[in-house]
C-alpha cells in the first residue's frame, strides 16, 4: 500500500483556483529577450541558462514544482512512494504526443534516463542513487533506489530531467543528431525557426496534452547582446518580457517605473541563486580560518545589497539560501565590523601578503561589486590585487585553483543534497572543474553530515543534520557568503500568469496569456 498518493487533479485544481478570477484569453504573440544566444536547444545535451529558458517551452519533465517546491504533475499525472522510501512509481499522462505525432510512453522515460546519465552532469549526479528504472507497462515507470534519497522527488523538472524522444535519438550519434537543431519535445510550443543572431521563434502546439493550453500563438525570443540595448528594446516597446538577469541591475528601478510595467521576483525559488567568494583554503593567509572570518567581517554586504544591487536580494547567512529546505539562520553572524576583522588578521599574523581577487566578468554590476569588495578588504589592511579576466579565463583559473579569492554565484536546486553539499564535501574536490568544492575545504564531520543528510529519513532527521552542517560551515567560513541574489522579471502588465512555478520563465509559457 503506497505511503502517499498525490493526485495531480486535486493539486492542479487547488493551485489554479485564484487564477479563475480572470478568464485567460487566447491568442497573441510575446516578444521576450534571451541573453546570451543559446548554443543550442537540445536541453538533454546543453544545460546552460538560455537553453533552458527557450527549451522549457519545447521539452517537459515528469514534474513541475510550485513556488513552495511541492511537486506538481507534468508528464507524470501521479506518483507514489513505497513504505521503505526506495521505490518511486510514476503514472504517466495518457494521450501525450511528441511534436511529430508519435506517442510519449514509458519507453521514452527509460531512454531519457540512460541518455541523461551520459550527457547531463547534474542528472548523472542526481541519478547516482538509482539502482534501476523499469517500465511495467506503457504508462508506468518505477525508479528503485539503492537507499532512500530524501530529495529524489526534486530532480524531475524540465531542466534537471528533460524527456527525450526515443524514436528520434535511439541508435543515432546524439552529438550530431539533426534534431539537435530542430528539437522535438512534448511541450506547449513547437520549435519553428531560429535566425542565428536575431531571434528564435516558437509556435503554439495545437495538440498539447492540456486542453485549451497554451494560450499564446507564438513566442519570439529576441537576441540582443548589449545590456543597454536590451533595456532600450523594452523601453521602446519592442519586447514585452525581460527575464530576470537580462538587464543590468541598475536599470531595474528605472524600467520598473515605466507605464504598464509589472515586476516580480518570483520564479527563482528552485534555483535560489546564492553569491559568494571562493576562498582558496589551500594556501597562503586564507588557509587560516581567522583570516577567512576576517574577510566576512570586513565586507559590507548591506552596502552591496543596497547600492550595487539596488536593494534587491538578501544578505546571505550561510551556505543555504533562505528559500530552500532546512535553512536556518541560527548560525554565527558576521556583521560588517572592520575593527574585529583587523583584530582577527593581527591574531592570525597576517603580514600584508598579496591576495589575488578574481571578479566575475558578467557585466557592470559584478565589476562594481568587485571594486567594492576590494575597497572593503583594503580598508582592513588586506593587500588585494585584482586580476581581470573574461569568463573563460576566470573559469580556467578557478578550475586550476590558481586564485585566492574569486566571485561566483551558484544555484541551490531546492535541497541541500542537490545544490549545497557539492560545494563543501571533500569528495567533490577535483582539479579542472569550475564548480563543486573548488575552495579545497575538507572536514570529515561535514563530509559525514552531508552523506547522512542525503539518505536520512524521516524529514525531521534531515532537518537536524543540515542545521548542524550549516552551523559548522558558518563557523569555518570555507567560502565567504555574500547575497541571495534576486533577478526580477520585468513584463508589460498585459502579460498574465507568466510565472507559475518555482523555475519561473524556465518552465515554459504554457499558462501565460495576454490581456489585450
Amino acid at each position: 500500500m503506497p505511503k502517499r498518493v498525490l493526485l495531480g487533479l486535486l493539486l492542479a485544481c487547488g493551485l489554479t483556483a485564484p487564477a479563475l478570477a480572470q478568464e485567460p484569453k487566447t491568442g497573441g504573440v510575446i516578444n521576450a529577450v534571451i541573453q546570451p544566444e543559446p548554443p543550442g536547444l537540445m536541453l538533454a545535451q546543453i544545460q546552460n541558462g538560455p537553453t533552458q529558458m527557450v527549451s522549457g517551452n519545447i521539452f517537459e519533465g515528469l514534474l513541475r514544482y510550485s513556488p513552495k517546491l511541492e511537486p506538481q504533475p507534468e508528464l507524470a499525472e501521479s506518483w507514489s512512494i513505497s513504505e521503505d522510501a526506495k521505490s518511486y512509481t510514476f503514472k504517466l499522462r495518457k494521450g501525450v504526443t511528441w511534436h511529430d505525432g508519435k506517442p510519449f510512453t514509458a519507453a521514452d522515460v527509460l531512454f531519457s534516463v540512460e541518455m541523461l546519465k551520459q550527457t547531463h552532469a547534474r542528472a548523472r549526479n542526481n541519478l547516482a542513487q538509482v539502482d534501476k528504472v523499469e517500465a511495467p507497462d506503457e504508462y508506468t515507470v518505477v525508479f528503485t533506489l539503492k537507499q532512500p534519497f530524501g530529495p529524489f522527488l526534486g530532480i524531475f523538472e524540465v531542466g534537471s530531467m528533460p524527456m527525450v524522444p526515443k524514436h528520434l535519438y535511439e541508435g543515432t550519434d546524439w552529438k550530431t543528431n539533426p534534431y539537435n537543431n530542430a528539437p522535438v519535445g512534448t511541450g506547449p510550443f513547437v520549435f519553428k525557426e531560429w535566425q542565428k543572431g536575431s531571434f528564435i521563434r516558437l509556435v503554439k502546439n495545437p495538440n498539447y496534452h492540456e486542453k485549451g493550453k497554451p494560450y499564446l500563438d507564438e513566442i519570439y525570443w529576441q537576441i540582443i547582446p548589449d545590456a543597454a540595448a536590451r533595456s532600450v528594446a523594452y523601453e521602446t516597446g519592442k519586447v514585452d518580457v525581460l527575464p530576470g538577469g537580462s538587464i543590468e541591475n541598475f536599470d531595474v528601478p528605472r524600467l520598473s517605473k515605466l507605464k504598464d510595467t509589472c515586476v516580480t521576483g518570483a520564479g527563482w525559488e528552485f534555483f535560489s541563486p546564492l553569491a559568494w567568494l571562493w576562498l582558496n583554503n589551500r594556501q597562503g593567509p586564507l588557509a587560516d580560518k581567522r583570516v577567512r572570518q576576517a574577510v566576512m567581517y570586513a565586507i559590507d554586504r548591506d552596502f552591496a545589497k543596497d547600492v550595487i544591487w539596488n536593494g534587491l536580494g538578501k544578505v546571505a547567512t550561510g551556505p543555504s539560501a533562505s528559500t530552500i529546505k532546512y535553512y536556518t539562520d541560527d548560525v554565527p553572524k558576521y556583521p560588517h565590523d572592520p575593527a574585529k576583522a583587523k583584530a582577527l588578521l593581527k591574531e592570525a599574523g597576517y603580514k600584508g601578503e598579496k591576495i589575488r581577487l578574481l571578479p566575475l566578468a558578467y557585466g557592470e554590476t559584478w565589476q562594481r561589486w568587485g571594486e567594492a569588495v576590494k575597497q572593503n578588504l583594503m580598508d582592513v589592511g588586506i593587500n588585494i590585487e585584482t586580476i581581470a579576466t573574461d569568463v573563460a579565463g576566470g573559469n580556467q583559473k578557478i578550475g586550476d585553483w590558481d586564485y585566492d579569492i574569486a566571485f561566483t554565484y551558484l544555484y541551490q536546486y531546492g535541497d541541500p543534497a542537490l545544490g549545497v553539499g557539492r560545494n563543501y564535501v571533500s569528495s567533490a574536490i577535483a582539479k579542472g572543474q569550475v564548480f563543486n568544492n573548488v575552495e579545497g575545504y575538507s572536514n570529515p564531520e561535514i563530509d559525514k553530515l552531508f552523506a547522512d543528510g542525503a539518505v536520512a529519513t524521516p524529514d525531521s532527521k534531515r532537518k537536524e543534520i543540515y542545521e548542524k552542517a550549516q552551523k559548522i560551515l558558518v563557523e569555518d567560513v570555507p567560502v565567504a557568503w555574500m547575497l541571495e541574489l534576486q533577478f526580477p522579471t520585468i513584463t508589460r502588465c498585459k502579460v498574465k500568469n507568466l510565472i507559475t512555478t518555482a523555475i519561473g520563465v524556465n518552465d515554459g509559457f504554457k499558462d501565460a496569456w495576454l490581456d489585450k
Partner: protein
Amino acid sequence: MLSFLAQRVLKGVIVLLAIVVLNFFLIRLAPGDPAVVMAGEAGASDQVFVKQLREKFGLDKPLPEQLFIYVKGVVTLDLGFSFRQQAPVAKLIGERLPATLLLTLTAFAISLALGILFGTFAARFAGTFLDTAITVFALIFYAMPLFWVALMGILLFSVTMEWLPSFGYETVGANLTGLAHAVDVAKHLIMPAMTLGLFFMATYTRMTRASMLEVKRLDFVKTARAKGLSDAVIQRRHVLRNALLPVVTLAGVHSGTLIGGAVITETVFAWPGIGRLMYDALLQRDYNLLLGVFVICSAMVLIFNLITDLVYRLVDPRIEFAS
C-alpha cells in the same frame, strides 16, 4: 595585368595561411577552452563532463595534430565544425556574412562619399567659417568612441524621437516582403551604418582636405589655371584626382579596421553579422568558429587591398602594374 593579379592572389594565399597558423596559436594562448566555458555555463560539472567535452572538440589531441587537422581542412575549404553551436563553421559564417557586408559596405560608401565631399569643400573654402565648421565636426566624430556614438544615437533617434528602431536587422515577426522589407531593413541599417561610417568619414574629410591643399600649391595647378580652365574643372579634374591617392591608400588600410568597428557596432545594435559572431566565439573560446571568422576577415582585407591597388591605377594612370 593578369600576371600582376596572379602574383597578388598567390601572395594573398600564402599570407592567409600564415595568418591561420598564427591565429591558431594565439587563440590557444588565452586561458580557458570551450570545454571550460561550457562546463561553466551548465551550472554543474564534473571531470567526466569536461573530459567528454574535450574529446568531443578534439582538444585532447596534441597541439601539432590539432593544427594539422585544421590547416588540412582550410586548404580543402573546410572550416570545421562549431561544436558549441553544433553546426558547420562555413554555414554559420555564410548566414551572417551578408549582414556584415551590407553594414560595412554601406558604412564604407557613406564615409567615403561624405568624407571626400566635406574634405573638398573644406579645402575649397580653406580658412573660412565653413572650413572651420567641417574640421571641428570631423574632429568630434574622429574623437568619439564608437559605442558611445551608438548609444547616443539610440537615445536620440529611438528613445526620444522614436524615428528609428534601436536593434536588429528587420522587424521580427512582421513578415514583410519586397519593397516593404527593403525599407524595413534600410530603417534598421541607418543608425549602425552611420555610427560605423562617421568615424571613417571624419578621417577621410581630414585627409582629403589636407591632401587637396597640398596639391593646390603645386605648379601644374598654376599651369592649368594659366591655360584658362575653370575653377570647377581644376578642382575636380586636377586637384581632387591627385589628392585622392592618399585617401585611397587609407581606405584600403581601413578595410580591416572597418570589420573591427563592426564588432562593436553589431553588438550595440544587435546586428546579426560576423562581427558579433566573432565576439561571441572569442568569449566562448569557440576555436573553430573564431578561426573561421578570422580566415574570412583576412580574406576580405586581402581582397580590399587588391581592389585598392586596382583603383590606384584608375585614379592615376601614371601608376603601372609591375609584373
